[in-house]
């Protein structure tokens, strides 16, 4: 007989046959894995492309490195000083200013004093002379006593003024020219300078500490500053005369913050306006529409993505962007001139030398801020806002969110792959158990453990690889566009060019295959560790139970079910993990809309008052307090501080509440150094009454330490409260100072020029509205997807359980049990296991989401808890159970199809 050369491993042919024979199972896994990989691949490609575009925005669209706002328009001198990046010499400035004031005032004061003195002396001298002359004349007439005195007085009254007028100029001139006068002036000046310098030293010491003027590491950061003024106006796009939202209007930019035109053209005439594409989509505004801005009508000439507003944040401290009721626009110079009302003096800056990285950017920004503070102080201007680019939510949120989406998608894919890997591992373990004698024979014949390991692992790896290839193909084509559409639905992103990166390949192919390999290697290699003899004897238990678990004396069927449960415990544990995975997803899909609607429902309760008006100042230009005749109005104080931490600085609203407030009653007044914190603050930072909190000024080196007196039931903002009196004392303000009014009735009698802003219910619900708009629809789809995922996982896992028990099921059929009775044994056990898994998973999933929600909100300002309503919990439970019921029908059919000779064949 001839001999032939060794061929390839014939076992590999089994893999394809198994794929064919078990195509339903593998098709389910393939479809799910492919869809997930496709989505994640699409997300990676879309994200990478968008992030690349965002990374180029600084150069491509001349995007700002930051912007600041001043209380007044800066003059060219101040702008030049700011652009130099140098700190103003505040000590010299204060000294010069004091000297100037002294020099202005002092000569006048000395002259007045000398004049008074000389006038008195001249007057006395003249009076004496007049009296002497009158006395001589009276005595000559023989007058004495009272008659003589009356004569003298009459002479004084008659002649003194004339005598003074005659003598005083000469006397004054003589006095002013005297050395004594010069000496007196000099002495007064020296004394005044000395007193002023002492005060300046003290003031400078305080300023240096507040503004870090003595920072030894300071380096000037030269910048180019671009006036970037704007007006916040009302937008009415449906022409019903009611404000639909706010619109921030700029002049068309030429040197900074250019836009990417998405539709139409830029503004060319005074009645044309270019608005944000995202807002236009949300509001249903099209190119050519007429919208009312302020009180003027404009024709929408184009839609754009503004490079400094990839996310429509109205204020940088807003909890969430608002592409529904906030818009950004540009008009021509002439168009801008059509507006009236307060203009904001914003200035964008760009570093002359671009920062190398984010660390360098932060350092440059800090140094620039130090210089800016001194320059504005020296110019007697007010720095009202300072937002470096890296901290500008309007610029950073979208890229960061896309980055975190990518990470989240990656994690979900990893978890799904691990769950599927475990399902594979269990399936293969079950196959190994079924094929134990074959494996024993192969091992006895000389097959190595490694060869068998590779053989059994080839199926999961093959399915994963095929899924990865198909998923990547779909990801790069179909799903990329889906993800892009999702992002365009949330963010105002510019046009992009698809960028191919290896990230997607690594994340969607390399890592899933590695995970699949690792999990299966772990489980299968452990399974194959047994000796050939153990396989031949079907003796595969790695741990030997010395005794069967003793069960209580229940009725037989109950004990039978318990035995089935114990026998399949590892499978039921994996079922629990699978259901937990689905429940976590469902908790997100169901809980997010629930949380948003809870928040929206709570906002009216959480509003201090229906209207909260913030004033630009507490006094008008005449120095009189700005008051209202509205009897509902109640003054309050407000400022904003930072709660700093290593990970993120949180903006905290600090309120000073009037004593006996109707709108924000505190259970008790706050003592010195005491505050009440909002429930949102307490929830986010886990503080309790008695704790100490540290808040800091945003732009000053000044901090405040407070003891928490209590927690107010207020979830709308991260805020702290203290009495007005305590507020004004803490922040060195006049005792009667205030920042605005709370009122349930609209305040109409305050001049708009004094109103900085008004916080309404709309402002507080913008977070939930925006999130609902961005994610609401997706969450509903995601719920259906979770239901499908539940069905898939339960299908795969219960299939394994039934397959594992086929022989036993076949045996009880032989014994005469009906299919219904068998289902009562096996399916009821699985049903109970599913119900128990659902109950446990519901609790765990909520906990997991609480942690995840905290992690998400820690990255942004504000806080509200994650809520799943009772209805949501029932929905989650029923969705998974409904999925199971469908699968149970399939399982019942599978049980019915198990032939009776199966047990006999196994016995052979």
């Amino acid at each position: 007989m001839k001999r032939k050369q060794r061929a390839g491993n014939p076992l590999s042919r089994r893999v394809f046959r198994e794929l064919r024979d078990e195509w339903r199972k593998y098709a389910v896994i393939f479809v799910f894995l492919t869809a997930t990989i496709a989505f994640v691949a699409g997300m990676y490609v879309a994200n990478n492309s968008m992030l690349t575009e965002a990374g180029q925005a600084r150069e491509k669209y001349l995007r700002e490195d930051g912007h600041f706002e001043l209380s007044e328009q800066a003059d060219p001198e101040l702008l030049a000083a700011i652009e130099s990046g140098e700190r103003a010499d505040l000590l010299e400035y204060y000294t010069e200013q004091a000297h100037r004031e002294i020099d202005e005032v002092l000569p006048g004061e000395v002259e007045a004093a000398v004049t008074e003195e000389v006038t008195a002396a001249v007057s006395a001298q003249a009076e004496e002379a007049i009296r002497a002359q009158a006395r001589e004349q009276g005595q000559a007439l023989g007058l004495t006593g009272q008659a003589l005195e009356e004569l003298e007085q009459a002479a004084v009254d008659e002649n003194l003024e004339a005598a003074e007028a005659e003598l005083l100029p000469g006397a004054l001139e003589q006095a002013m020219e005297s050395e004594e006068y010069e000496e007196a002036l000099e002495t007064a000046r020296e004394t005044a300078y000395a007193d002023a310098e002492q005060e300046i030293d003290e003031a400078y010491r305080r300023a240096a500490e507040r503004y870090r003027l003595d920072d030894p590491d300071f380096e000037p950061v030269p910048v180019t500053v671009y006036p970037f003024f704007y007006r916040d106006l009302d937008e009415d796009h449906d022409h019903d005369g009611v404000r639909d939202g706010g619109i921030r209007v700029y002049r068309e930019p030429k040197d900074v913050n250019l836009y990417c035109l998405m539709d139409g053209k830029g503004p060319e005439s005074e009645d044309e306006i270019l608005i944000d594409r995202m807002h236009a989509d949300n509001a249903g505004i099209r190119v050519g529409d007429i919208i009312s801005v302020g009180s003027a009508d404009f024709r929408v000439c184009g839609l754009a993505a503004f490079s400094n507003y990839s996310t429509l944040y109205e204020r940088n401290t807003d909890v969430m962007f608002d592409a529904l009721t906030f818009d950004v626009a540009v008009v021509t110079e002439e168009g801008y001139a059509r507006f009236r009302g307060a203009q904001r003096y914003a200035y964008a800056w760009r570093y002359r030398t671009a920062p190398a990285d984010e660390i360098a950017e932060k350092q440059m920004s800090d140094h620039f801020l130090e210089a800016l503070i001194t320059q504005t102080a020296a110019a007697e201007n007010g720095l009202e806002d300072f937002v470096p680019g890296y901290a500008n939510m309007a610029i950073t949120f979208a890229p960061e969110d896309m980055g975190s989406d990518k990470a989240m998608g990656g994690v979900i894919l990893d978890i799904l792959v691990v769950v599927l890997a475990f399902i594979f591992a269990i399936t293969i373990s079950s196959t190994i158990a079924r094929e134990a004698p074959v494996i024993g024979t192969l091992r006895a014949s000389g097959y190595t453990r490694g060869e068998l390991l590779r053989h059994y692992m080839s199926m999961p790896v093959l399915v994963t690889l095929i899924s990865a290839v198909a998923g990547n193909l779909l990801g790069y084509t179909v799903f990329k566009n889906i993800v892009v559409a999702m992002y365009y639905n949330s963010y105002s992103l510019p046009a992009y060019t698809t960028v191919w990166t290896p990230d997607a390949f690594v994340k969607t192919t390399v890592i899933p295959v590695i995970l699949m390999l690792a999990v299966n290697l772990l489980v299968i290699s452990r399974k194959l560790r047994l000796s050939p003899l153990r396989f031949l004897r079907r003796d595969l238990k790695t741990t030997r139970r010395k005794k069967a678990v003793r069960l209580p004396s229940w009725q037989f069927i109950r004990r039978f079910r318990m035995r089935i449960f114990l026998q399949n415990l590892p499978n039921y544990l994996v079922l629990l993990i699978g259901i937990l995975f689905v429940m976590v997803m469902l908790a997100m899909a169901v809980g997010l809309p629930d949380t948003l609607s809870w928040y929206q429902g709570k906002v009216p309760e959480m509003m201090f008052a229906r209207h909260q008006v913030i004033l630009t100042a507490s006094e008008d230009e005449n120095g009189d307090p700005i008051t209202t005749g509205n009897p509902d109005a109640e003054a309050f104080c407000m400022t904003s501080l930072l709660r700093r931490s290593e990970s993120r600085d949180e903006s905290v609203s600090v309120y000073g509440i009037s004593e006996g407030s109707r709108y924000m009653p505190l259970d008790r007044e706050t003592g010195t150094g005491e505050v009440w914190v909002s429930a949102a603050y307490a929830g986010k930072f886990r503080v309790r009454p008695g704790d100490t909190i540290l808040l800091e000024e945003k732009y000053e080196n000044r901090s405040y330490r407070f003891t928490v007196a209590g927690i107010c039931d207020y979830d709308a903002a991260v805020a702290v409260f203290l009495s007005r009196e305590s507020f004004n004392r803490t922040f060195d303000r006049d005792p009667d100072d205030f920042s605005g009014y709370f009122s349930n009735e609209e305040i109409r009698d305050i001049d708009e020029a004094y109103i900085a802003s008004e916080i309404t219910e709309e402002d507080l619900t913008k977070v939930s509205r925006q999130l609902d708009h961005s994610m609401g629809a997706y969450m509903r789809y995601f719920q259906y997807l979770c239901g499908l995922l539940a069905a898939v996982l339960i299908y795969l896992l219960t299939k394994i359980i039934i397959e594992k028990n086929e022989s036993a099921i076949s045996m009880v059929k032989i014994l005469g049990y009906t299919d219904r009775e068998i289902a009562g044994l096996y399916l009821v056990t699985t049903t109970l296991a599913v119900l128990a898994s659902e109950a446990v998973s519901l609790v765990l999933a909520k906990q997991v989401m609480n942690v995840a929600w905290r992690a998400v909100l820690e990255r942004m300002d504000g806080w509200f808890p994650f809520v799943i309503s009772g209805g949501g919990i029932v929905k989650m439970f029923l969705m998974v159970f409904a999925a199971y019921l469908v699968i149970m029908l399939l399982d019942f059919r599978r049980i019915r199809r198990i032939p009776m000779d199966r047990a006999l064949k196994d016995a052979e």
Binding site: R3, V438, A444, G446, P532
Partner: protein, 238 residues
């Protein structure tokens, strides 16, 4: 036949027990015998006599507690796990009472599973004809009778042309006629390829077709005989 060929397989004072303490049971209590190269050796004995345990230790899938086995002078006890696998791969073919075929591979592929282990396997189609399975080569195991399945398992064991063919009750699950056919096949293979055959059986009649018969009882060699007038399997009757 050289002395080394005469002492091709040596079993010396082989001991094996299972369990511990009071439950310990000695299965092999010092077994000694020698098998020559190319010999057809039958291990006879009732259930529990230790014959399958002995075969498993010879096959390198079980370890002894004492004594040793050497093949061509190499002691199995000296081999580590990996070397033992290589030993089985190069020198042994296994046939079990239950055929242990791979259900989703056809006849030819099941034999190829054995061929894969050898650098110089036998020509499979020739072997299939020898086994009388050529017509059935594309059938799956569940389309075959028990005897045909056992032929496939013999083919899988023999295709790598092993030095030793170990058969553990190869006819235990077969009827009389089929059993004789299988025994004839093993006999033919032994004669044709010169493999050493060690067959475990409790069927006393089979001793007549063997060169060398070892009777075991209670873990000891009860009787050892060499058969100079070996008959063909077709002549067997029981």
């Amino acid at each position: 036949m050289s002395e080394q060929e005469k002492r091709f397989l040596e079993v010396v004072d082989l001991r094996k027990g299972f369990g511990e303490g009071d439950t310990r049971q000695e299965v092999l209590r010092g077994v000694d015998f020698t098998v020559a190269k190319g010999e057809f050796c039958v291990l006879l004995g009732p259930s529990g006599s230790g014959k399958s345990t002995l075969l498993n230790i010879i096959g390198g899938i079980d370890r002894c507690d004492g004594g040793y086995i050497s093949i061509s002078g190499e002691k199995l006890a000296d081999l580590n796990e990996k070397s033992l696998t290589m030993y089985r791969r190069k020198h042994l073919g296994y046939v079990f009472q239950l055929y242990n075929l791979i259900p989703n591979l056809n006849v030819k592929e099941n034999i190829e599973v054995g061929a894969y282990l050898s650098d110089h396997p036998l020509e499979i189609d020739d072997l299939l004809r020898t086994l009388g399975l050529y017509e059935h080569r594309y059938k799956l195991p569940n389309q075959l009778s028990g005897g045909q399945q056992q032929r496939v398992s013999i083919g899988r064991a023999i295709v790598k042309n092993p030095d030793i063919l170990l058969c553990d009750e190869p006819t235990g699950a077969l009827d009389y006629t089929t059993s004789k056919e299988i025994l004839k096949l093993i006999e033919d293979i032994n004669r044709k390829y010169g493999n050493t055959v060690i067959m475990v059986t409790h069927n006393v009649a089979i001793r007549r077709m063997a060169d060398h018969v070892i009777r075991l009882r209670d873990g000891r060699v009860l009787q050892e005989e060499h058969n100079d007038s070996r008959i063909s399997a077709t002549e067997l009757d029981w």
